[in-house]
Amino acid sequence: MEDNKIIELYWNRSEQAIMETKNKYERLCTKISFNILHNNEDAEECVNETYFTVWNAIPTARPVYFSAFLCKISRNLSLKKMNYSHAQKRNSEALKAIDELENVLIHNVNLTMKLEEEELIDTINEFLNDLSIDKRNIFIRRYFFFDTITEISNLLGYSKSKVKSILSRDGKKLCNYLKERGYGNETR
């Protein structure tokens, strides 16, 4: 079913909306959630919570990109759950990805202060738009979807070392991007 029809169902408060969302996007949401939580039950729980959140959100929000809207909710709920869960943390792909990027950034950029969120989002969008298509794809697959290096290399036909090297270079590029905009400058 087309996304706009699914959204119409939500607007009409039809429970079929959840069924259609499940049919079309369950795999995508589960994949993100599993990458973060590394636990089937927790991932399933988060995906169900995603549908519930969408059900409550859509009367006030009308997403233009429904798939991205779902992904963001799944990712957000799963990261929150991961922060409260300690048992599965060790194998989470998300934690590996987070460590990987934070290791590049932490010594150079001070983001520990709560900065203007909108400004930071704009900076991230600007940075991503400046990357080439493949590099942007790699960055988003790794740090938004938390895909493994192997999955990304298979998807794009690159060697794992090439993917790692691109991520490392783009992490440094992000670091410079943030520094140029004043992050890490304590007088800011």
């Binding site: 233009v64 950034l105 493949d134």
Partner: protein, 468 residues
């Protein structure tokens, strides 16, 4: 998470960026009735029932490569005087000028007495007697490199002939250059010739070509340069009970790796089909059988993917990306036709293949660059039909060279840098009395223009690279 607000910000990136990534990822559709080759990254042929995933390409998604028009026109420096020689060398080749054009193109201008060309990273020079010497550019000098002649009588599939090659070893790389035409006539009146080449896994292939002009039949073996031993590793492999060497059409070999090769074979060119050959297991299986695509008439290997072309009526074709490590087949072009210069199409999608990962296509008068792995279309600002028809892709599959020829010189060169999303286009002039006769990639990062002066016999090479 130490940088919580960063991860929150990444989680709130522009929806469009997320959707683009989702659309590039394959949608799955199972077909469980295929005979299949089990192929992990290390490819092992195992005949078994397996599932294959089919996807539709993301070709509707359009991206833009922006034009960077270089304002300065390159003027090739004059060569009349030796005073402008930069390198001091006993070699008959010299670097006579360098230039940086708007900090985009770095150019090196080389000249030589008599004919000069390149092989791999080396330069070749022929003297008046036709004797060829090899030089490496090291520390602003041209250093002679040793070469060794290989003359041998060889025999393959019962046919005997000669090879006459030069073997050059430089910095661990093996290079082979043919010295003379050693073609000969077979008893049946057909012409044949043996060739030697270094394969992409550093084996030396001895290839027998029958009627080389027709490009219908080639059969290869491993050749030991030191002992002259020929190992016919294709022997004993049959398709439908007929040994490979006995097919009238046997061509378009490609190396997938780990002892797996691709080839197109059949009784006629029209009916020939592409196969996957397992040298170690002495087995062959058609791509039609593997993928369910009815008639795969040719295949090529690009990085770790295999591109499949399915001929359909009216000289049209469908084209697919077969990712053997993921068990997916993605349709890239549907009912397309070849883009042939000066031929009008019938409003179908026309494809100008590069031989590598990216092609130019034209549809409804609009030209796009297409990624053969995903079907993604890229609009290239400033591209014209003439430039698109000249495309040459580099060996890394990340830069495309386009150019336009004038009467005696190349008037424009452009590089589409895929990773940078930029199309660098430059006008040029060469007021010296020389004829520029070829343009090509010299390696993954250098473009080479070859030129000659018909009066003085001097020859020239201009090397261009994008500034770092």
């Amino acid at each position: 998470m130490k940088l919580d607000n960063l991860w929150e910000a990444i989680g709130k990136m522009d929806d469009k960026l997320i959707v683009d990534v989702i659309e590039l990822k394959n949608k799955e559709k199972n077909n469980t009735n295929q005979w299949w080759i089990g192929v992990a990254v290390a490819i092992v042929i195992v005949f078994s029932t397996f599932s294959i995933t089919y996807t539709v390409s993301a070709e509707f998604r359009e991206w833009v490569i922006s034009l960077f028009q270089i304002k300065e026109t390159e003027v090739v420096p004059k060569t009349e005087s030796d005073n402008n020689k930069i390198t001091e060398s006993i070699a008959p080749i010299s670097l006579y000028a360098v230039d940086s054009i708007e900090d985009v193109f770095e150019v090196q201008y080389l000249k030589s007495t008599n004919y000069m060309s390149t092989i791999g990273s080396l330069f070749t020079h022929s003297d008046d007697s036709g004797s060829i010497k090899y030089y490496a550019a090291e520390n602003s000098e041209f250093i002679p490199v040793e070469a060794e002649e290989i003359k041998d009588k060889v025999k393959l599939t019962g046919i005997t002939g000669e090879i006459d090659f030069t073997r050059i070893k430089y910095r661990g790389n093996l290079l082979l250059r043919e010295n003379r035409d050693t073609s000969f006539m077979l008893d049946d009146g057909n012409e044949a010739i043996f060739g030697l080449e270094v394969s992409n896994n550093n084996e030396v292939w001895l290839t027998l070509y029958k009627n080389p002009q027709s490009d219908k039949w080639e059969y290869w073996a491993i050749y030991d340069l030191d002992t002259g031993e020929v190992s016919d590793i294709l022997q004993g492999i049959s398709v439908n009970g007929i040994e490979l060497k006995n097919y009238p059409v046997l061509r378009q070999w490609g190396n997938v790796g780990n002892g797996i090769y691709i080839v197109t074979l059949g009784q006629t060119v029209e009916r020939a089909e592409a196969y996957l050959i397992d040298i170690n297991g002495k087995r062959a299986v058609s791509f039609s059988e593997l993928t369910g695509i009815p008639h795969v008439s040719s295949a090529k290997v690009v990085n770790d993917k295999i591109m499949l072309l399915e001929s359909i009526p009216n000289d049209k074709f469908n084209y697919y990306c077969y990712d053997y490590s993921m068990n997916t087949v993605t349709e890239i072009y549907n009912s397309a036709e070849y883009w042939i210069s000066e031929e009008e199409g019938d409003n179908s999608l026309r494809v100008r293949f590069s031989g590598g990962r990216y092609d130019f296509v034209e549809e409804k008068g609009i030209i796009y660059l297409v990624d053969e792995f995903t079907g993604t279309r890229l609009t290239v600002e400033g591209i014209t039909e003439d430039l698109a028809e000249s495309l040459l892709i580099n060996s890394d599959n990340n830069k495309i060279l386009v150019s336009s020829f004038g009467d005696k010189t190349i008037e424009q060169i452009g590089i589409i840098d895929i990773d940078a999303d930029r199309f660098y286009l430059m006008k040029r002039e060469n007021n010296d009395s020389v004829t520029e006769f070829s343009i090509s990639w010299n390696d993954a990062n250098h473009i080479m223009i070859e030129a000659e002066n018909n009066v003085s016999n001097e020859s020239y090479i201009y090397l261009y690279s994008l500034a770092e």
